[in-house]
């Protein structure tokens, strides 16, 4: 229905795209946060900073959005460069976190809106203003590394989770939690789904098995004792990291993003080891090469690598043209591709 009264003021040269009513609202600072991943010598790595010296906990490179930043991504790049001297190549937006009940560093609850990004880089020699170091990301999620069979912590994790599920308030809530548990950890039927990194982290968090939960929400009722799993990070950075790892594990299957982590020339086994490091599972060697080659993901360099320990391997490089040919080029690794270590 037309509302002619609206035109009374008649000042704007063209109709307002956004009404005045939605322009008010709480103003707050925005934080930009980077999960910077690499893979060197078969280990998945993440770039962390420590602002407060040795005793401080590890954090992701991050900083506030400033007026000079033309785009969010440029602001992020500036902060990372400043804090770690690492320049970023591939960058994609990950998620925006903004729950009000998150705790600030000094303990008071506050809204902090964090726009998190995922970055993939090749090299790994940080030396910024903050103390920046590369860490194997399975330090934070030891239950996620299945490359050498079932991880050692898993049994203890599952014991802790089972206790938490039993203690759930209400019958429906208990059944729901058990279902989530079965899905995320493949207890009962189903097999391990390597993409559910965030789901698993959140289950542990809710069950009080994560240090951050005890640290940031001490007043949250049922304080759980017993072990807490994985190394803690600052604020909710471990949750952000879990989001990033899950996203990456999904993405390598349908986009050729692994190559952002590889050197210009590499062997097929190096590529396989990298994929395995990221996904946390072992792959069948012959089928992996067939997949990579018949998809046209790589091309010959003509050179050989002699430091294989056995027969020399062909060195290949990423074939950029595949982006134009295939709709979803990636390193698919279906469920149940596990191979004994």
């Amino acid at each position: 229905m037309p509302k002619p009264a609206d035109k009374a003021a008649g000042l704007a040269p063209r109709p307002r795209a956004v009404p005045r009513e939605i322009e008010r609202g709480a103003a707050l600072a925005i934080r930009l946060c980077a999960v910077i991943l690499a893979a060197t010598t078969h280990e998945p790595r993440i770039l962390t900073v420590r602002f407060g010296g040795e005793e401080a906990v590890e954090a992701l490179p991050s900083g506030p959005l400033e007026v000079e930043h033309r785009t969010l991504e440029l602001g992020l790049r500036a902060w990372v460069e400043r804090q770690t001297s690492q320049s970023l190549g591939y960058v994609e937006q990950l998620y925006t976190f903004g729950d009000r009940d998150r705790l600030e560093g000094d303990g008071r609850p506050a809204r902090a809106l964090t726009v998190a990004y995922l970055a993939l880089v090749r090299e790994a020699r940080p030396s910024g203003s903050a103390e920046a170091t590369w860490q194997n990301w399975y330090r934070y999620f030891p239950w996620e590394d299945w490359r050498d069979g079932e991880p050692a912590v898993l049994a203890a994790v599952l014991r802790g989770l089972a206790g938490g599920a039993r203690a759930a308030p209400g019958d429906a809530e208990r059944r729901l939690r058990e279902e989530r548990l079965g899905l995320a950890f493949a207890v009962g039927a189903g097999s391990w789904n390597e993409e559910l990194v965030l789901e698993r982290y959140e289950l542990l968090y809710e069950a009080g098995l994560i240090t951050e939960r005890r640290r940031d929400l001490p007043a949250a009722g049922e304080v759980v004792h017993g072990p807490a799993f994985g190394r803690a990070m600052a604020a909710d950075h471990r949750r952000i990291l879990a989001t990033a790892v899950g996203r990456l594990r999904g993405k390598i299957k349908y986009r050729p993003v692994v190559f952002e982590l590889m050197p210009p020339a590499f062997t097929l086994l190096q590529l396989q080891r990298t994929v395995e490091a990221l996904s946390g599972v072992r792959l069948h060697k012959q089928n992996f090469r067939r997949l990579v080659e018949q998809q046209g993901l790589v091309e010959e360099t003509g050179e050989l690598s002699l430091d294989t320990g056995g027969r020399p391997a062909r060195l290949v490089r990423f074939r950029r043209e595949v982006l134009l040919e295939r709709p979803a080029p990636g390193v698919r690794l279906r469920a149940g591709r596990r191979v004994p270590a």
Copy 2:
């Protein structure tokens, strides 16, 4: 390296998780924005609002984040409910837009941080405070509907784009643009990839073939004349919509999200028509049913639908258990599954 001077103040009971230095930064208002999709009678629909009466352009439901909102998603739900009386079921975060050079409604450049969400709903009877109406989303992207063969506008769109590509500054820039064009519109080799909605929209936008570009960036050099394609929306809402449609088109393939749009019981053809409406392509009927049935996505209700026009069809319902069984249940539609209309 430890910095003992840091502990001088000694007020915080535990080490600060986030250093003080990153707490300053520009404060600004956050906008929450919802792309609400439905599918009724074989048409893909989106819920739009008009704040300024008839002559105003269509907009997505949106409003500022307020202090009362405990989470971003709850804030979004509150705004949508207020503006459209539509309560949301399935909601997922889409993307956070925050370029500084976006224009506000009154013409001055400003930073507006918009957290956009994708929502899928079943019913479609809006009556909120703003004038809310359902629209077929192909009004905004007429080149995206390939259900009845090549869309009529496509030839004109490609003519316009080809002109823009020729006019690109520099040789490398021109080649890059041509490559993007070939990828997004399947000119030359390759076939139509229905997920590249955003890529196509941005190509048109950059080529000046989109009303918003001429409206919001009048000073941006080469003003293009000639046709502008698709219906315009407020601010950058059409870009947000393109992001949402692309995301949904990808997601239906590996997650059972279509069922969020279906009534409790439906026929297999209704399901197929919905998938086709979303993806914009026709599917092979027999293979579609086999896929859906052998994946265990649906189960019998025992009832029949008589209003098919032909032989009555079985009514089925979504089988929730599939979420526990399959790692990636979804309605896969590989490339080249096209069928003449």
